[in-house]
């Protein structure tokens, strides 16, 4: 008897859960996924919450962990738990080609000319411009690095250096340090000799390299003295300096990463997605966001509203004049074609 009741209960629970889930899909509120943590807290403050208030809707949030795995799971289960998500370039292109993300109708956002070039893509609108550049702790270095070549000069500046444990961006960085012009980087790297040249350049400082995985590591190491200089994200260095650590940044040939907002092509809330993008593409709102996170903004006019002190640490204007854009078509094509084999070579090389 008890058992029977038990089974009935299980059946009932399953049915209820089924109805709830099914109902949830249809009536799911507008959902945005981003990188989580303090970064998403700031996005909530400056964009999500004001957008929800302006529209009188509820905006749900989720965390995107990076990489393709979450999207692959969505494709295979034919499930779209999010409407809008912030992605990196390689996922942007892949999702755009596979039809997972919507090809944007720019007339519903604003003229393309309003945005800096790296912030405009077929399926995406730039969210933030992050610069990876050389940062150093003046308390630990004898001389100041003036060009990328100095990063590789163990005589001039002895000591450990931090580099990102990712071939993307790092190989380009090595080639530019070896004298390759920013415009020719991918042309050179596409050849066997060019790729060998990048690895050979890194070989010259390999025993002194300390690899970082997370953006939080370089400022920590620079402050603790584990490295004398490091490649780092400009925002992380700026944040450390807000606490008075006095780290320095060099903007010559910095490497830009521009994350993009994308809308899911099968989203039930495409209209809200466009409205959110339009809401986001407001120079004043974007400028306010830089007070929390010192990253460049997609709207050209945002710089007009940013305080000069903040601008100094921002990848904008003069700072990005000779920068390498990893979201450009050359870079995207190169990495989509060669990332598998280069990852293997890179990992084997690193362990040697």
């Amino acid at each position: 008897m008890l058992l029977k009741q038990g089974w009935a209960l299980v059946a009932l629970a399953t049915a209820v859960a089924g109805v709830t889930i099914a109902g949830g899909v249809q009536a799911r509120d507008f959902t945005i996924a981003s990188w989580g943590g303090g970064y998403q807290d700031s996005q909530r403050k400056h964009f999500f919450k004001p957008f929800a208030d302006a529209k009188g809707i509820r905006v749900l949030e989720d965390t995107y962990l990076g990489g393709w795995a979450q999207f692959k799971a969505m494709q295979e289960t034919n499930n779209r738990p999010w409407d809008v998500v912030q992605v990196e370039t390689s996922e942007l292109i892949r999702g755009c080609e596979e039809g997972l993300f919507l090809k944007l109708d720019w007339s519903r956002i604003g003229p393309k000319d309003d945005f800096i070039a790296p912030a405009v893509a077929d399926c995406g609108l730039g969210v933030v411009v992050v610069s990876q550049l050389v940062a150093w702790n003046p308390k630990l270095t004898k001389a100041e690095p003036k060009a990328l070549a100095d990063f590789f000069d163990l005589q001039k500046i002895p000591g450990k250096r931090g580099l990102r444990s990712d071939p993307k961006g790092t190989l380009e960085f090595a080639l530019m340090a070896d004298g390759v012009d920013v415009k020719d980087v991918y042309k050179v790297m596409s050849t066997k000799e060019g790729l060998d040249r990048a690895f050979a350049k890194l070989d010259t400082i390999k025993p002194q390299i300390q690899w970082w995985e997370a953006g939080a590591q370089p400022p920590e190491w620079l402050i603790s003295g584990d490295v004398v200089m490091s490649t780092a994200y400009n925002g992380r260095i700026a944040n450390a300096n807000k606490e008075g650590h006095g780290l320095k940044m060099m903007w010559t040939n910095n490497v830009l990463y521009v994350d993009k907002w994308v809308i899911f092509a099968d989203s039930a809330n495409v209209d809200l997605g466009y409205e959110f993008l339009k809401f986001f593409a407001d120079p004043k709102r974007e400028a306010a966001f830089t007070e929390d996170y010192t990253y460049g903004q997609p709207h050209k006019d945002a710089v007009k509203y940013i305080k000069p002190a903040v601008l100094e640490a921002l990848p904008a204007g003069e700072h990005i004049a000779d920068a390498l854009d990893t979201g450009g078509s050359e870079s995207v094509e190169f990495w989509l074609d060669h990332s598998d084999e280069i990852f293997e070579r890179w990992t084997a090389w690193k362990a040697r």
């Binding site: 300390q210 995985e213 094509e333 690193k350 362990a351």
Partner: protein, 420 residues
Amino acid sequence: MANQAASGEALPAPGGAQRLALKLNLRRAERRRKLRAYALIAPLFLFLGAFFLVPLGSVLYFSVANPEVVELLPRVSAALRGWDGQALPDEAAFAALAEDARVGYDDKTLPKVALRLNYEVGGFRSLLMRTGRGAERYRAPYKQALLERDERWGELIYWRTLKGNTSAFTLHYLLQAVDLDLQWDNSIRLAPPDQRLYIENLLRTLWIALVVTLACILLGYPVAFLIATAEPRWAQLLILLVLLPFWTSLLVRTAAWVIVLQKGGIVNHTLMAVGLIDEPLALIFNRTGVYIAMVHILLPFMILPLYSVMKGIPPEHTRAAASLGARPWAAFLTVYLPQTMPGLAAGCLLVYVIALGFYVTPALIGGGSDQMLAYLIAEFATNTANWGLAGALAVLLLACIAVLYPIYQRFAGAGGMRLG
């Protein structure tokens, strides 16, 4: 039944029909009892099935599945089946490719197969996507049209790679996971030197786990002995100290080691203040740091099984050996140590198997040459979503553990824990 038979004389003997009914009743009751028992363990079975067998099965499946070319380029697959691979295929194969590329580009499935082929030949992705983008304009003869679009279609390697993937299952990933390269004609070659990394990584993983296990034995055995022989009051406190690290997460403990071991960290600071060293020691971002942190995290898994076995060993045994003239070492080696074997074997198995799967600790504390297999699996599983290779590497790791189990059984003997 025996009772009934004994009192059978007084009662009228049950008739055949009655006996049958009784039997049926009994059987029914028995069946009900069994069903209920099954029902009670059903959640466990469902749990095991859903969270153990299904994922394991899918990992195995992904490591050999190769559906992309067969499903997404069906016409080319069919056209290349009879091709000998010696010269460029005929017009029919080019026509099939042009059609497949057009269909694939329209329904947006082409990127998937393009990425899959790119695993084997760098650049295949852009070649196929380029071919797809222009597919509306191709007219017969297709051979000429495709070669005009991209002359790489005149190279055998692309056609051979296509042919090599015209079956729904492949050993490509499993072979890649041991630095071998499956060729289009099913011959197997060593991977190019600068792409050999998986065997080295596997050996490193096995080695790190071994060193950590040995260190755990050396450190954990005396501690377990101390706890097992201490007064209950002290034993409780010691156990608490052993368990304490479990109350914080692995990530937090790893991060704490960064602070302790770094250049300006507590250890270096103290040693320099005392005057033992002039230059800070390199304790982190190398193998030393990885060993220190992993041993710290895994030590309880060695101490607890040892302690539980040691507690059951009567101290009289060693005393008897001593009274029979055995010296302390001999008494330990011949009497005490063999009795702790089940605990030691269980501890080693736990520590070794858990150590094999370590990911966060080497990633945060190790250098470029201290990364373990889990690092690669995570990279392929989550970042590039190359689930075939991730699955193959996981199968490799699983195979290593499967080899260990019989060895463990031998040492653990009858008293050890059994998994089956």
